[in-house]
Symmetry: C2
Subunit: 346 residues, 2 copies
């Protein structure tokens, strides 16, 4: 099966590493890797171990300067046109202004009948309906498990286990960086900036943590949940957002003294809202470090899922889960995956 | 679709109530209800609201003495033979000595090609392999979501979301009664017997709470998880079991003072074990009241599920989930479900 990568940062590299490890690796051939500087391509399949090593050693530009394979001005659209892969693994960074470059990458792939698995929230927040329609029209798959909860299969759980129940409300701790920061403030009695510095030094967050701290990342996840699981048809502007920028050490310690904790909680109730809340430390939603939690309340029960919400390896595992979900039968039974054969069984 | 009930206690009645409510209720016809005193039967379908009302008003014997429908000496095997239902909903009480009457009921149904959905742990603990083989041989379905975690879809989650990951270990709080008792002891500063009395008066536990308190119920759930999800092929005697009988108020309060709680924890690691443990109150496995929790550790992540583990309505929701999982397409699209038609698409 021919695969192309758009984006080859932390998540992309981790997906590549998992593909190398999995028992079906011999049946996956990565014909192109595109990053912000260009692409590397090979019809017979690129050496993924070498690609990971290059990117880790030389960073940005190392893919497009790969001797014999690199093309410095190639775009995702170009390589899709030329190499006609079966699947695009899209892990470019989230951009909630116009969704680019992810939106163009996905549109280009889906309109050619190429399946897309993504961890990029931007296009899913902005254009889920259009992308879904495009996928249906062209008989291709669009999966985005990794956009909510990192490695925790939140969307899958709601989509499968709760498919026959009416979800009445959702609440959860959906942003790992802000949770780590709030937890670290209380634990080490440090202020928000110091805790954020710690998060950066531990690789929990990227340099630009504004999306996380301002509550925008959590709001994006609420929108994806609301639209993909509950079909609410909402937009980011429908979410009332308050971040944790103004949470002080004093607030955090006052909560601590009352057996509680400040957490950035997202809620889908009558309205969508993200804001810091005081929650009991014994509440199952109360998680520490970079964990996430979510509670679905249905007509029958409250279901709470907890797990590590961020991290390259965890998010990459969501991509692999999507991949196996689409192609499992073919990949595990050593059948040749060709587009015509696959479409005939869909 | 013709359905028979074996067992019409708390769970059975709640399943009937949910069937009445659901949008597909008009397409389900309950031709027989069998309880410990006999049966009520009707080829055109029994009035479920009336059946529930009778059982609640008059208790044991009220089904078999139902004027015009009751047969006082009928067994499940008899009604399966005579009415040839499509599905048996088996909710008789758990018996871990010989699995009866559930084991005979299920064997009888499956060998006739009748699907079985059960909440009865006994036969699943004792004879999962034989029952599964019987189901395969006769082209019938066997589902038992309600045996572990009540309404929390623990088996479904592990079977679907984690199907492509290696589960390395499992730990969890799997018995609601003992959790309620331990929680209540600390909360109200009362001893175990008093807390157990409270559990009984709140309907959390049946009169015979020995299975719960001695850790046997939790051990049964571990065996079901180990065999159905991890294919370990273990028996109840392979579980080292220590119940909470000897946990004193002093133990519970000492834990409380250290920010911890005593909980009955089941573990599947190198060995299977159920025993009281001290856990941090901030540990996601720490749950209050009659909640359950479970943590699956895989090669990628730790996944924790939390929810109400007991209760007639919650456990009944697991039966409905199984039912929709098997027949969804037919029931929701108003297709006639006949055995021959169903078997042809399996």
């Amino acid at each position: 099966m021919k695969i192309a990568f758009a984006g080859f940062g932390t998540v992309g590299k981790n997906v590549a590493a998992l593909l190398l490890k999995r028992e079906f690796s011999t049946r996956c051939r990565v014909v192109a890797i595109v990053d912000s500087k260009g692409a590397a391509v090979c019809q017979d399949g690129l050496d993924l171990a070498e690609a990971i090593a290059r990117k880790e050693a030389y960073g940005s530009g190392s893919i497009s300067q790969w001797n014999g394979y690199g093309i410095s001005d190639a775009t995702t659209s170009d390589v899709l046109e030329e190499f006609d892969p079966y699947l695009l693994i899209e892990t470019t960074p989230t951009n909630i202004d116009d969704g680019e470059p992810g939106l163009s990458n996905m549109t280009s792939a889906l309109s050619k009948g190429i399946d897309v698995i993504t961890t990029n929230k931007g296009p899913i927040v902005l254009s889920l309906n259009q992308l879904t329609e495009l996928a249906e029209k062209n008989n291709s798959n669009l999966r985005f498990s990794g956009t909510v909860g990192g490695g925790i299969p939140i969307l899958d759980f709601a989509g499968h286990q709760l498919k026959n129940e009416r979800i009445l409300s959702v609440k959860g701790v959906l942003n790992s960086t802000s949770n780590y920061v709030l937890w670290k403030m209380a634990k080490d009695r440090i202020d928000l900036q110091q805790a954020l510095q710690e998060a950066k030094s531990h690789g929990i967050t990227e340099n630009d943590a504004h999306y996380d701290i301002a509550g925008i990342d959590a709001a994006c996840k609420l929108v994806i949940l609301a639209n993909s699981i509950m079909r609410l048809g909402v937009e980011l502007k429908d979410v009332t957002i308050e971040g944790i920028e103004n949470v002080t050490l004093k607030d955090v310690l006052a909560a601590e003294n009352a057996g509680k904790a400040v957490r950035l909680v997202g809620r889908i109730e009558d309205r969508l809202r993200v804001s810091p809340e005081l929650i009991d430390k014994t509440d199952p939603l109360h998680v520490e470090g970079d964990n996430n939690s979510i509670c679905f309340s249905t007509e029958y029960n409250n279901y709470i899922l907890v797990g590590k919400g961020a991290g390259g390896k965890e998010t990459a595992s969501a991509v692999i889960r999507d991949l196996l979900d689409i192609y499992q039968v073919e990949l595990l039974h050593d059948q040749t995956v060709s587009r015509s054969a696959m479409h005939s069984v869909r």
